[in-house]
């Protein structure tokens, strides 16, 4: 019985791996997750924060988007960049975009132009120019500084609050 179960699970894992390989004929497999922080307090009053899949969100909740990408080929992947739009109804939280060994830039025009936060300027209705607010960013781009070696995995993450 136990053996049969284990075999079934192995088969299922195999099917999943095949499906992923079939869906992406390239070298990089991309996984996107949306999570929220869940704080639990134990009997001693010690708080533990962990990430759990975002099932239900209400206005004011912070969602953590993580893009995980892995090079499944035998050659290194070069010029790797991750583009992720900030979903509608969500506002990017300042300084929350992270990714090891990446340069992060932002867009306020739907992904046509990218720049560092200090270079992003918005014009108000009355013509006054000002720095764009993080909540106005529409897209985020992470550019890897080095090639992604064969078999290596990296991630790009940001936080946004539901308006």
């Amino acid at each position: 019985m136990t053996i049969a179960k284990g075999w079934l699970m192995a088969l299922a894992a195999c099917v999943l791996a095949n499906a992923a390989a079939a869906a992406d004929k390239g070298c990089i497999v991309v996984q996107n997750t949306a999570e929220v922080e869940q704080t639990t307090t134990d009997a001693k009053g010690v708080k533990t924060v962990k990430l759990v899949p975002a099932v239900k969100v209400v206005p004011g909740d912070t969602v953590i988007y993580t893009v995980t990408f892995r090079n499944v080929c035998t050659k290194p992947a070069e010029n790797v960049s991750v583009d992720n739009p900030v979903p509608e109804h969500m506002a990017y939280i300042a300084d929350s975009a992270v990714g090891p060994n990446t340069d992060v830039s932002f867009s306020i025009d739907g992904g046509y132009n990218f720049g560092k936060p200090e270079a992003l300027r918005k014009k108000d209705a009355d013509g006054t120019e000002r720095a764009a607010r993080p909540g106005e960013y529409t897209n985020i781009r992470w550019v890897m500084r080095h090639p992604l070696a064969a078999g290596a995995e990296a991630y790009a993450r940001f936080r946004a609050v539901l308006e």
Binding site: V58, P59, N84
Partner: protein, 326 residues
């Protein structure tokens, strides 16, 4: 001028954005996200999309009840006196709210007696109980409010007899989300707008506000006197003689006589002397304008002086005007 208009426009804009934030993204909204990874292998560029994450916005149950009326001045023994409240859906989904009221509240001097029915919609928007207002029946006409929408509610009480001046009685309106109430974060699976989950917001899905009645008996007394000056320097009431009337109005008691107005008719066979009306020695124009008084011409001429909310503390108010005998 232009500067003023600009300022006004800016204020409107900020108001609008505050409103947009109050309720937030509507319940049931689907939020999707797909990332792309671009890279080159062996000189050719490839773009790989990620899976798409989908979040459904749950309904946040939130409500805010606010008192809209200043303490209501009542007399002992008054019946069906109303307090005005506003119930606002501060959640992000359409929600029905169950209303209840109580007048059994500690920390006041007396308990107002709820009328039957005791809760009304201020249907005609008058701010007070009137014939056009619809009675609220729990479970039957619970107000269903879209996000950010409010409804005006009156709660109605009788005031017991025999209360001392200055006594305060309180009455409270409570609104509860019909989906449910609970500690912030409590989940009501599948019970939100459009079948989404509902989650108790920071209000816990319930809110209340307390209004106040103040017993304030007040009475106004006015004392009128007349002095006559005839054309010969005497005090004979003869044609051509001038009569100066003085009316002294004073309030007594602990209350406030709201919007007290004194009307005094010009006696028959006399004519009002233009420009002779004064309040506390200050001249009032004859015209109906921003000042406190005027002369009303016509078939029954009179003077009118508005004394505002008159209290004993304000002291005596002296009105003076003159007429000539025809």
């Amino acid at each position: 001028m232009t500067r003023l208009q600009l300022l006004a426009a800016g204020w409107l804009v900020s108001l609008a954005s505050t409103w947009a934030l109050a309720a937030g993204t509507p319940a049931g909204t689907s939020i999707q996200n797909t990332a792309n990874v671009t890279y080159t292998v062996g000189g050719s560029q490839v773009t790989a999309p990620s899976n798409t994450t989908t979040l459904t916005v749950a309904e946040r149950l939130d409500v805010n009840v606010t008192l809209e009326s200043a303490p209501v001045s009542v007399r002992a023994g008054d019946v069906r006196r109303a307090l005005l409240f506003r119930v606002t859906n501060t959640g992000n989904g359409s929600e029905a709210f169950r209303l209840s009221m109580t007048s059994a509240i500690g920390s006041d001097n007396f308990d107002p007696v709820p009328s039957s029915p005791a809760i009304y919609f201020d249907t005609d928007g008058s701010g007070d109980l009137s014939a056009g207002d619809t009675a609220y029946v729990a479970g039957s006409n619970d107000p269903v409010l879209a996000p950010d929408v409010f409804v005006s509610i009156l709660i109605v009480n009788d005031i017991p007899a025999g209360l001392a001046n200055g006594s305060i009685g309180r009455s409270r309106l409570t609104a509860q989300a019909s989906t449910g109430t609970g500690a912030p974060g409590t989940v009501f699976p599948g019970q939100g707008t459009g079948g989404a989950d509902a989650v108790a917001g920071s209000s816990g899905g319930t809110s209340n506000a307390t209004g106040e009645y103040v017993v304030s008996d007040v009475s106004l007394t006015n004392v009128k006197s007349a002095t006559v000056l005839d054309p010969f320097g005497g005090s004979e009431p003869m044609p051509g003689a001038r009569i100066t009337y003085q009316i002294v109005v004073s309030a007594s008691g602990t209350g406030s006589a709201g919007n007290a107005v004194i009307d005094d008719a010009i006696p028959a066979n006399t004519a009002f002397v233009a420009g002779s009306l004064r309040l506390n020695a200050a001249l009032l124009t004859d015209a109906v304008d921003a000042d406190a008084g005027e002369f009303i011409a016509g078939t029954s001429p009179a003077i009118r002086v508005r004394l505002g909310n008159l209290t004993a503390a304000a002291g005596a108010q002296t009105i003076v005007f003159q007429v000539t005998i025809n």
